[in-house]
Point group: C2
Chain length 314, copies 2
């Protein structure tokens, strides 16, 4: 088994950027990713990554991927990580594909996954009207009525995207006003197809093979809204299986604690992107590429230090 310099876990913006930098440092690098592009690839339109006035998330992540591959870095996609172990200052990663990799350092860039509502009907009707990705599924709801649950940027973006084709879009939010970027709030408020249902908590999703309605609680009363689709946009939580295997320290919300150089509490393990507590917890494409590049620089320094120490002791 060839000894790699660094194994990058995660193929989103942070992982890809770490790979670009690591390869330019001439480090033997591989990237392992469940889905290519991470959460950014789910965005229909990205307008706040500098350099692109407007670009589809999948297209942008494809550009990142090409850049990684142009430097000769192998990307394992659709690969589940079965285990990660540290022994004798080296890390072994076992994949569901049967591959086994060994590397001197790790960059954990696993991002985050969508938060679930946890209400009756959600699990049963997932993929049957309940969706966690408007970009992926909006086209199925042409001329239909849908509800977006949530009040953050993703919720507003999902509502705007859905309003393009759907008949009617409800934004259901537990507070009195959505908390998205003001430019997105303006666009939602001036869109005739979008209706806000504030101070409302979803309590049940009803349906018979497909979604039929959403039951909410508002002002202490239960109300039922007829909808064909429900888009859950109530934020994300960090990936936690693998960070637990590695024994990484986390904050109260489960995000991996990092130092300024993206190192973690475990020597040789660095982290980058949405999974970390870095960048003032402002989780954006801009901050993901920064953390990816800093992590790669730190791995480069870390490996040089190990090599120097080894040379001295020999």
């Amino acid at each position: 088994m060839e000894e790699l310099d660094v194994i990058i876990l995660g193929s989103g913006a942070a992982g890809y950027t770490a790979a670009i930098y690591a390869a330019r440092y001439n480090l033997k690098t591989v990237v392992i990713g469940k889905e290519p592009g991470g959460v950014a690839s789910e965005a229909a339109e990205i307008e706040n990554y500098p350099g692109f006035l407007k670009i589809n998330g999948m297209d942008l992540m494809e550009k990142f991927k090409e850049q990684v591959e142009s430097l000769g870095v192998k990307i394992y996609t659709y690969a589940e990580i079965e285990s990660v172990n540290k022994n004798n200052g080296s890390f072994t990663v076992k994949l569901s594909t049967g591959d086994e990799l060994s590397g001197r350092a790790l960059i954990v860039a696993l991002g985050s996954k969508r938060r679930k509502l946890g209400i009756p009907g959600e699990k049963e009707l997932a993929g049957r009207g309940v969706s966690y990705c408007a970009t992926c599924d909006a086209a199925f709801f042409r001329d239909k009525t849908v509800a977006v649950i949530g009040g953050n940027d993703s919720a507003a973006k999902a509502a705007l995207l859905l309003a393009e084709g759907s008949k009617k879009v409800y934004i259901v939010y537990r507070r009195g006003k959505i908390r998205a970027e003001p430019i997105l709030v303006d666009r939602c408020e001036s869109n005739e197809k979008i209706e806000f249902i504030y101070n409302a908590v979803p309590v049940e999703i009803k349906g018979d093979n497909v979604v039929k309605s959403l039951v909410i609680e508002q002002d202490g009363e239960k109300k039922e809204i007829e909808v064909d689709g429900i888009f859950v946009e109530i934020g994300s939580e960090p990936e936690d299986n693998i960070t637990a295997m590695l024994g990484l320290e986390k904050d109260e919300a489960g995000y991996t604690e990092v130092n300024a150089d993206m190192s973690t509490n475990v020597p040789g393990v660095f982290a980058a992107g949405d999974i970390t507590t870095g960048s003032n917890k402002f989780r954006q494409l801009t901050t993901s590429v920064a953390e990816g590049s800093i992590a790669a620089e730190s791995v480069y320094k870390y490996i040089n230090k190990i090599k120097n120490e080894k040379n001295k002791s020999e």
Copy 2:
């Protein structure tokens, strides 16, 4: 005089990104810049900004600028800042153009400027063979002999660029090996036109209206190398006039100290990009866009807090 929400000082990658984010927060924003694009626009080829396999620095910065302007943000270019003052919780900026601007918050993204050698002949022959920007001036040295002073990434890149058209390129460096990215070191070492002169310190530039030779000291001896051009690439130092006017705290190298949210020691003043101590001091395009976006988010929060306090007290 209209009261702006935020005045961004600097029109490089960090300033432009701050402007994109600030405008999307619906903040009344202007950008003031001496030269559009900052230091990135001097790069002949950028290969490590994710999304672009290879792009000319000026082209990339033009894309950033278009994105800023598409959001209706006014950019004052070629404007020298004459003074910056704080009074009654608001900042007044006077420009050499006669314009006077007032804003509730500042983002200082002034970047850094090229370090000089400080040896006889340098000042006299600047622009007459002595250059601080290979991208700008390489074309003047077609089939000529040039020396690049320095051993960092910029020095290696300058040498590679110059080697495309020049007859011969010396890299003169005070240490025994250049310290650029390994991928760049490899390319320099395998380039037949490039010759390394190590452990050498430049002591004088000779010429008669134009550069004729470079005098170096190596192993205690003075040597004279005939060259037509000298490219000084010995790093940068932060812009310091304006940070001094504002009373910003700096580290020993003169970089502005920032907190995780890009705030400085002066309330209402935030900083981003190469001028700061942020991002583990890894000064890249990736980290500049991150700091720009974080600074804009922090300004948004800062201004909302001020407005809320004002409402409460009324």
